[in-house]
Symmetry: C2
Subunit: 372 residues, 2 copies
């Protein structure tokens, strides 16, 4: 993996980068659609490519439980399994082990947990989490970390963060010993809302020298101001020449705040989950297709959007599909929202390259925050 | 609408035809995917066109209740509403009024019923059913009929059939008086399993001179032998130069039996419903993707199928998607099953043109009935 900062905005920390991965290039800033179970909910791989998806996210915890790592070893990895030939990133599953599974014991060695699917017992060490991700075969894999909930005391956050750093060292060593071809390992900065902890964690991880760094522990219930502060307490302590990934973020406005502060990569389930709930992102803000006024509205979902949905279908048709319980409603809403996020990231990138990111952000938010 | 029989198989009643409709040509025999609520479940219009769908089915009862005929009048019909520029056929909704709605009263004037959605009261006369379909704007519209359940006594079947003939006359007259541009009206032959009633009904409808004729009242629980007998009791009494549509049929083997006996058009929810239940049609019979043996089967769903699903995805991936509750499973299964039915109809047509339909049918069934 190589990463090159191609342009820096003169007025803020925003950058445009080129990430070269085993399965192709990724131009940053980039939004990564979430395909937890090796499928982006309701989407087909051909569609994802057609709207400009450069890299997908999948989840090691889910894929470890089902279909299991043995299958990935047999078929030759997630790209072959899904027939997706562009880059993939897997989250280690740390977040899911702590949130979805029934935990039995957490020690410095690792976590004993029960599957949320069938109650079976499993034990993840940092090394095991790396082995699982090597078997799955993504281009970018993540350290096994503990994502603190919100709110959490500074003492608890410190203790958790130091365990995450310890685990990161174990992950780093195990990854180096196995030296997997074409799989880059990212460290994850924790520390909750405490700037000193964020700095301490970032510095400890940078000392371990990862190919890239993530900012974790955000989008867990904190305020937008706290999230921005966490980014500001972290990004300056990360190397300029390495990619930065803000995990689980986010809505369009949060993505832009983070880009302004030097973040390159994003993932979030919101565009896909909101879509399935009938909420569409548009240049004039979110639109709830369930509202009665769209039943007779023959305009496109977003008049300023060039996605396949906006080019073909009307709000009235989407509204009818949603009210009728048709699966096509979920598909078209998802395709639109993902297109919107990918276009937003691409537009942010163009703005950085042209040195007008701040103006771009202001113009976008003025319209987006005006509401439907 | 014009219909031309292009070829007749020398060894049976099978024919290949060309149906010219307001929105394009349909080459028969043809399978029509079912889009009850102006959407073929899980499918996008672009996908339907890409697998060779020539004509879609929609349902007047459902569309009358939601989104309502006023919307179709505003937007200019179902083609504009769905953005589907190929032909559409609407069923009159008779079947649904009698099966889905709560009926209050049936008289020779029409049916009073309550909506299955909200309990609201409605009254359909034959003329009203035609008005609704004219508003929806399909290329082919159907007479309002009573579809008898199975089993039914000959007396009841006769009484019901005679009411259907009476209603057909009213539909025919109302349709002629409104003279809608580009909308052909088909009569529907009823008569249950009674050959004399089938003949009587067919002759009465032919005397009314419809652009096309349907065989209704099949696929309601009768045996395959009874269904074939109903076709044989009807088709010979229909004009050679008019299209014949067997309503609600069917599985691949039934479609071929009907083609052999001179039927040109088919619709059935089975390919789409079965798909959503994990059942895939293949050249070696039906395959249940939920079966454990497919979890590690990296072959295509059907090795003899050239559809977009079989070209790209494995049984193992489809199996994983289905077990994981991913909507993409429903999509891909549906796309495959519809492709299978469309290919089967196209292959049957080719066989008729080449005068080898009987051999084609035997070869297909030998493999299809061999089971997975």
């Amino acid at each position: 993996m190589t990463f090159e900062v191609e342009a820096r905005d003169p007025a803020c920390g925003a950058r445009a980068g080129l990430l070269r991965l085993a399965h192709g290039e990724v131009r940053t800033p980039i939004f990564m659609p979430v395909g937890t179970q090796a499928s982006v909910k309701t989407m087909d791989q051909g569609e994802l490519a057609s709207i400009g998806t450069q890299i997908l996210l999948a989840n090691a915890y889910h894929l470890y439980l089902r279909p299991g790592t043995e299958l990935f070893e047999t078929v030759g990895g997630i790209h072959q399994f899904m027939t997706w030939d562009r880059p993939v990133l897997t989250d280690s599953g740390g977040f899911q082990v702590f949130s979805l599974a029934q935990m039995n014991k957490v020690t410095r060695e690792g976590v004993e947990f029960r599957s949320h699917l069938d109650g079976s017992r499993h034990f993840f060490t940092p090394a095991r989490a790396i082995d699982v991700q090597i078997a799955i075969g993504a281009d970018i894999i993540m350290c096994f970390d503990e994502c603190t909930s919100y709110p959490v005391s500074e003492e608890q956050a410190a203790e958790s963060m130091r365990m995450t750093v310890d685990w990161a060292g174990q992950c780093r060593a195990h990854w180096a010993s196995r030296a997997p071809a074409g799989q880059a390992l990212f460290g994850i900065v924790q520390g909750s809302v405490y700037p000193e902890l964020r700095r301490e964690c970032a510095e400890a991880l940078v000392a371990l020298d990862f190919p890239g760094y993530a900012i974790g522990g955000v989008s867990v219930g904190e305020s937008k101001a706290e999230m921005v502060a966490a980014i500001e307490a972290t990004a300056p302590h990360l190397p300029e020449d390495k990619p930065r990934y803000l995990m689980g973020v986010g809505p369009p406005e949060d993505l832009l705040e983070a880009v302004e502060r030097g973040v390159d990569m994003f993932d979030c389930i919101m565009p896909t989950r909101d879509a399935r709930n009938g909420s569409l992102f548009t240049s004039q803000g979110k639109l709830n297709i369930k509202a009665g006024r769209y039943l007779r509205d023959f305009g496109p979902p977003d008049p300023n959007c060039g996605c396949p949905v906006c080019r073909r279908y009307s709000r009235a048709y989407l509204s009818h599909l949603y009210r009728s319980g048709e699966i096509l409603a979920l598909r078209l809403n998802t395709l639109h929202n993902l297109s919107f996020m990918l276009s937003l990231a691409a537009a942010a990138r163009d703005a950085v390259i042209q040195g007008r990111f701040i103006q771009f952000k202001r113009t976008f938010l003025q319209s987006y925050m005006s509401g439907q």
